[in-house]
């Protein structure tokens, strides 16, 4: 699966500049002015607001199965979430979810 080279480099360039500007914003440009409290409040929710919506359609309708709901991928997703919430750690969650995914796919291919 090839991705259009011009698109990739354009994404990289704009993302690099944009990310730098976000990081430089207050430190370099805006200076020592406090953020309005409502903005701070909203910003704290960005990762938890963006990532679930990004991932949810992939869990229910994976690209790799042409949108067919796949019990193995679903189980792997639930395992990852459970381990992440219980351990509060990212890596154990990735390891557990990947293990369920790989073993499950092998088993379903064999069965």
């Amino acid at each position: 699966m090839a991705v259009d080279a011009v698109l990739v480099w354009t994404v990289i360039a704009i993302l690099a500049v944009g990310t730098f500007l976000i990081r430089f914003s207050f430190l370099g440009l805006i200076g020592d002015r406090p953020l309005p409290p409502i903005v701070v409040r909203l910003l704290r929710f960005t990762p938890v607001a963006v990532l679930p919506a990004l991932v949810a359609p992939q869990v229910l309708w994976p690209n790799a199965t042409d949108g067919q709901t796949d019990p193995v991928r679903m189980l792997a997703a639930l395992t990852t979430l459970a381990v992440g919430m219980v351990t509060r750690k990212v890596l154990p969650a990735i390891v557990a979810g990947s293990a369920v995914l790989i073993i499950g796919l092998q088993l379903s291919a064999a069965g």
Binding site: G18, V48, T80
Partner: protein, 219 residues
């Protein structure tokens, strides 16, 4: 702190699997240096989203770093501009976490000492991140694509979110994000994501404000 090693490895593997070249993978990792945003951009490219939707989604994931930038101003605001620019380039989750704790504990440090400390923290992390990505990309070339690698990317996102779900407002934000994201998944790739994210942020913030008001009236 050295979560950057497995994370960099993983980005290398997944980027190559998504169809990026080695140069593109390394270019992205060196210029953007923001794991979650890089993974987001990859997923959006795989989903064939349009350019501006890819950018908007990935930058939305990075918005939290505006907070880091603001939080460092009282400590580093008086450093020379070139030093602040360099610090901004390396101001990501791990470096910010270590530096901000040290600054809280040592408020008497002069600004030069604080700048030196930041560079001291960042100097080993940045090359480690880049090297780990390179190793991952080289491994990724060798892994057969039918092992379910496609789904490692969603697993990574879920693993990032799971530990963040510590409070009711965060859980509500994540649930709204999932629900709206699914309902709007018929829209062009990325459009539903941004609307879902906006709803989720509002829902999380509103829940938090409501909780604070309620506990205030109990006092």
């Amino acid at each position: 702190m050295f979560v950057v090693v497995p994370f960099g490895l993983l980005f290398g593997v997944v980027a190559m699997d998504a169809g990026l070249t080695l140069t593109q993978t390394m270019g992205m990792t060196m210029l953007v240096i923001a794991g979650a945003a890089q993974f987001t951009a990859l997923q959006m490219m795989v989903d064939n989203a349009g350019l501006w939707l890819i950018i908007a989604a990935a930058l939305a994931v990075n918005l939290r770093m505006a907070m880091y930038s603001a939080a460092l101003v009282p400590h580093l605001g008086k450093a020379p501009l070139w030093q602040r620019a360099l610090i901004a380039y390396m101001n990501f989750d791990q470096t910010y976490a270590v530096a901000s704790i040290a600054y809280e504990q040592n408020p008497e440090w002069p600004v030069e000492r604080k700048v030196t400390f930041f560079f001291g923290v960042a100097t080993p992390i940045v090359p480690t991140w880049i090297a780990a990505t390179l190793v991952g990309a080289l491994i990724g070339k060798a892994i057969p694509t039918d092992l379910g690698i496609d789904f490692i990317l969603p697993i990574t996102f879920i693993a990032l979110v799971g530990p963040m779900l510590r409070t009711v407002p965060q859980m509500i934000a994540a649930s709204v994000s999932v629900a709206v994201g699914l309902i709007l998944s018929g829209l062009p790739s990325g459009m539903g994501l941004l609307i879902a994210a906006a709803c989720a942020m509002a829902a999380g913030a509103a829940t938090e404000i409501w909780q604070e008001k309620r506990s205030a009236t109990w006092l």
